[in-house]
């Protein structure tokens, strides 16, 4: 089997740590969203919680896939900027394919869901997009950037929503800008993931930016928990 991997060798495992941290952040936000739903009984809050939870589950599948490829590989070759890995284990191949496909599907679903609950798109549109997410998941296996381009589109929509809502609010509260900033940083990370074909360092920059995005979300969560009136 021939597998394509984006991470430089020295970055092996570091991205897994980054993603473990992101899981903790999204789990905390999902839990709080669920608590909020318990009070408001607002479906939007329940979906918000579910979609954040999906991000966490998606990362778990990515970690399993990466762990599988990083530590079970049996050989590799370097061709220009790309590293190709050979594996003899058929189980590893299946695990990688399934794990990464589930990661991409759940991640796309989560961000599409966050976009959907904010823009209140028609239900029919939701199922149409669901269909496209399935297609993207399948095709992104051979062309990884299709997935990241889709993520850029979803995140741009989410960012546009937050900017529109914040622009309407007066007086301006700087803390309210943290969410759009976090999504902007996450959007930037996806752009760098697209450019991974140019240089593997782009993957590292993407991962660092992704971590920064989740760090901002964590900072927001801490601000909320410490809030006293």
């Amino acid at each position: 089997m021939l597998q394509y991997i984006f991470s430089p060798r020295w970055f092996y495992g570091i991205d897994i740590v980054f993603e473990l941290f992101s899981i903790v952040v999204v789990a905390m936000i999902a839990r709080y969203g669920h608590m909020l739903y318990g009070v408001t009984h607002n479906k939007k809050h329940r979906y918000f919680s579910v979609f954040f939870l999906l991000i966490g589950i998606a990362f778990i599948f990515k970690i399993i896939s990466n762990f599988n490829i990083y530590y079970l590989e049996t050989g590799s070759i370097n061709i220009e900027n790309s590293v190709f890995y050979f594996q003899t284990s058929h189980i590893s191949e299946i695990l990688f394919t399934i794990g990464f496909s589930i990661f991409r599907f759940l991640m796309a679903m989560a961000f599409f869901g966050l976009l959907f609950i904010n823009w209140k798109t028609e239900r029919g549109m939701f199922y149409l997009c669901l269909y496209f997410i399935v297609l993207i998941t399948i095709f992104s296996h051979s062309a990884y950037f299709v997935f990241h381009i889709t993520m850029v589109v979803f995140m741009t929509g989410i960012l546009a929503y937050y900017l529109k809502r914040n622009a309407a609010k007066t007086p301006r509260n700087m803390n309210l800008l943290l969410t759009p900033v976090a999504f902007f940083v996450l959007l930037l990370s996806q752009m760098f993931f697209i450019l991974t074909f140019m240089n593997l360092v782009m993957y590292v920059i993407g991962e660092v930016l992704q971590l920064a995005g989740f760090l901002i979300l964590m900072y927001e969560y801490v601000l909320v928990r410490r809030y006293e009136k």
């Binding site: 909020l36 309210l176 909320v224």
Partner: protein, 87 residues
């Protein structure tokens, strides 16, 4: 969706109006401050009493319990969370 969102605001306004009266308030004060109908206020007060956030004195005044104070503090945080994530 809008009505659901208002639920947290209503509960905050009820609990805050009791708190402003020094943890003990007359139902009519709460009614005016929270700007609610009698029927709606009764429904919410009943729910808050059942959950142990408030209690009624013999003179019909409403008492904000310790659990209610903690809940109000948590609700303010939740409101902040909603504002930050535009929920």
């Amino acid at each position: 969706m809008k009505n659901r969102r208002d639920r947290i605001d209503i509960i905050i306004s009820i609990l805050e109006s009791i708190e402003e009266d020094g943890q003990k308030s007359k139902p009519t004060h709460v009614l005016y401050r929270a700007n609610l109908s009698h029927k709606l206020l009764k429904k919410y007060l009943q729910e808050l009493e059942e959950k142990g956030f408030i209690s009624f004195n013999e003179d019909k005044t409403i008492l904000l319990l310790e659990k209610g104070k903690m809940f109000l503090s948590e609700l303010r945080k939740m409101k902040r969370f909603m504002d930050m994530f535009n929920l």
